[in-house]
Symmetry: C2
Subunit: 329 residues, 2 copies
């Protein structure tokens, strides 16, 4: 394993310390327990948005803390859920009278811990569960996983909260985005979890892993490496079958790198995916290309399509000022 | 070689097509010859800034075309200089009466081709040559290479040009930033050039390459992998010896990923580097952490320190609206 670190045990703390130092104008780091909160004070009565999850997916979620997006993020150890005390402390720190909404990727550990925190805060039903990964069937036993679509929910609900929407409105808006969003990923390599020290799965020189998540788990099929066009066709068809967009609908197309894939390739994938949906008559109204929901040093990418009406597009466009998503501020 | 592409021959064109489609609000792609220009019209008399170089370093330079930064970028094939006809066509397209300034990383091919273009345009001395890589001695036969410091020059001179500075002022400003900027990089892996199909050099499981550039060439020493603290100490000391900052000076600290190194590790490196210079009494006034000047899929990072006085800091802070650097707009 080759990584820039001092010890595996101190990696997360040192990394969060560096992050907080680099973005001291936007965030504050709280330790014992760990959470990152926005520095700018919020308007009294604003709904507080809190997300979190295992580390190793940066910039998700800490990189999206700030004006117009998250109020706080709770980072767990690499690929490990944060604990309820983190969420509790974060909620107590950022609740400004408007209530708290948790944005949670649908993984057993995250769901359990955020639900415990919600119960302790005496605010049940205060969570949005993200499940955009269409590589698993809709009736999968633990539900579908939350992947790169998460940031779209965070951005749109974050804008609404900033504009004064109340808790019920924010939650309903989040549910709309979740319904309208689907993702699927493919990997060209596994990733190396620091505490493990070796890749989590092996892939042959001419193989790709189709339908991967973001935790170094196997996908649903190991296939011979195909052309970019064939790969995009497969990912886009799965997403399209799930969302079944009507012609002329507007959409945000997000091509996300898992960490080790050059932007050159991500833009090539974007061009092919945009072409696919333009042929279907869709209006690709917004785009986002880059490494936003990563899986440490995994080579690969995911495609996310989010069907956004004018209201949701306006919220996507609203000002945001975070470490890794910033416009209009 | 595992990459997302259709054919090696069409990779660049397909990637540029995707980039232009994803950022159609900011840029326009010109083909035959290839260049990317900003979409927003400029004020008459504005100095036009043009950069370029081999592809494979994205988001440099195409991702920095837009308001407040570059007027155009000329992409060559992977790690290959663009040709004078590209620079000539770009200059003719974006010159708006204020003259053209080329921002050129100091590599033989780039320098030669930009100089030919400058001659054909009959504007000699219209280039800034970036040479921030302190891993080579100052008296190196072809001079030092331009690496991650390039974007700092592009941003600061871009802001000045946007605010109405004339050609001589822009050039002098660029020279000041070049003098005040030093970088050094370390790699944990090589990168794979698509046309070559295999890594450009081999590294053992416990080795790192110190003093690397951004073209997959060997660094100045292959060393046993060290702790992040020891690596930062070595990079920062080399930079510090070169710049010899006075205590209390303000600086921009930029930690740049080469493409395959997770943000978690880059922030850890940032924290250590910030600590190094804070111990020296420096004021780390601004920071930039992420993959900005990449070397395809190389694992590794570079540290750049840029000593910026109040005037230069204000230009760094000025509004910028490009695909991969955006604030204040």
């Amino acid at each position: 394993m080759k990584k820039f670190l001092n010890t595996v045990d101190t990696l997360l703390a040192e990394s969060l310390g560096g992050f907080a130092k680099a973005h001291a104008d936007i965030v504050q780091l709280h330790t014992e327990p760990y959470f990152v909160r926005r520095k700018q004070p919020t308007r009294a009565g604003k709904v507080a948005l809190i997300s979190g999850g295992g580390s190793g997916h940066e910039p998700l979620h800490t990189g999206f803390v700030g004006t117009g997006m998250l109020d706080a993020a709770c980072p767990g150890q690499v690929f490990t859920s944060p604990t309820p005390d983190q969420m509790l402390a974060a909620a107590q720190a950022v609740d400004n009278g408007g209530g708290v909404l948790f944005i949670v990727k649908n993984y057993a550990g995250d769901v359990m811990n955020f639900e415990i925190a919600a119960e302790m805060l005496d605010c049940p039903n205060a969570s949005l569960f993200i499940n955009d990964d269409v590589s698993l069937p809709k009736n999968h036993s633990t539900g579908r996983r939350g992947v790169a679509g998460t940031l779209i929910v965070e951005k749109i609900v974050g804008a609404a909260a900033e504009q004064g929407a109340d808790l019920a409105t924010c939650k309903a808006l989040g549910e709309r985005v979740i319904q309208a969003t689907a993702s699927m990923g493919v990997a060209l390599s596994s990733c190396t979890v620091p505490a493990l020290g070796h890749p989590t799965f092996a892939l042959g020189d001419n193989e790709m892993e189709m339908g991967v998540g973001i935790h170094g788990e196997h996908g649903h099929a190991t296939l011979p490496l195909a052309s970019a066009s064939a790969i995009v066709e497969q990912l886009a068809a799965a997403i399209n079958d799930d969302l079944r967009p009507a012609p002329q609908q507007s959409a945000l197309l997000h091509v996300n790198g898992f960490g080790a894939t050059p932007l050159m390739e991500l833009y090539l994938i974007y061009g092919l995916a945009a072409q696919y949906w333009q042929h279907q008559g869709l209006n690709i109204a917004r785009s986002l290309v880059g490494n936003y929901t990563t899986s440490l040093d995994m080579a690969g990418c995911s495609i996310t399509l989010s069907l956004l009406d004018d209201e949701l597009l306006a919220l996507w466009d609203a000002p945001v000022h975070t470490a890794h998503l910033r416009w209009g501020c």
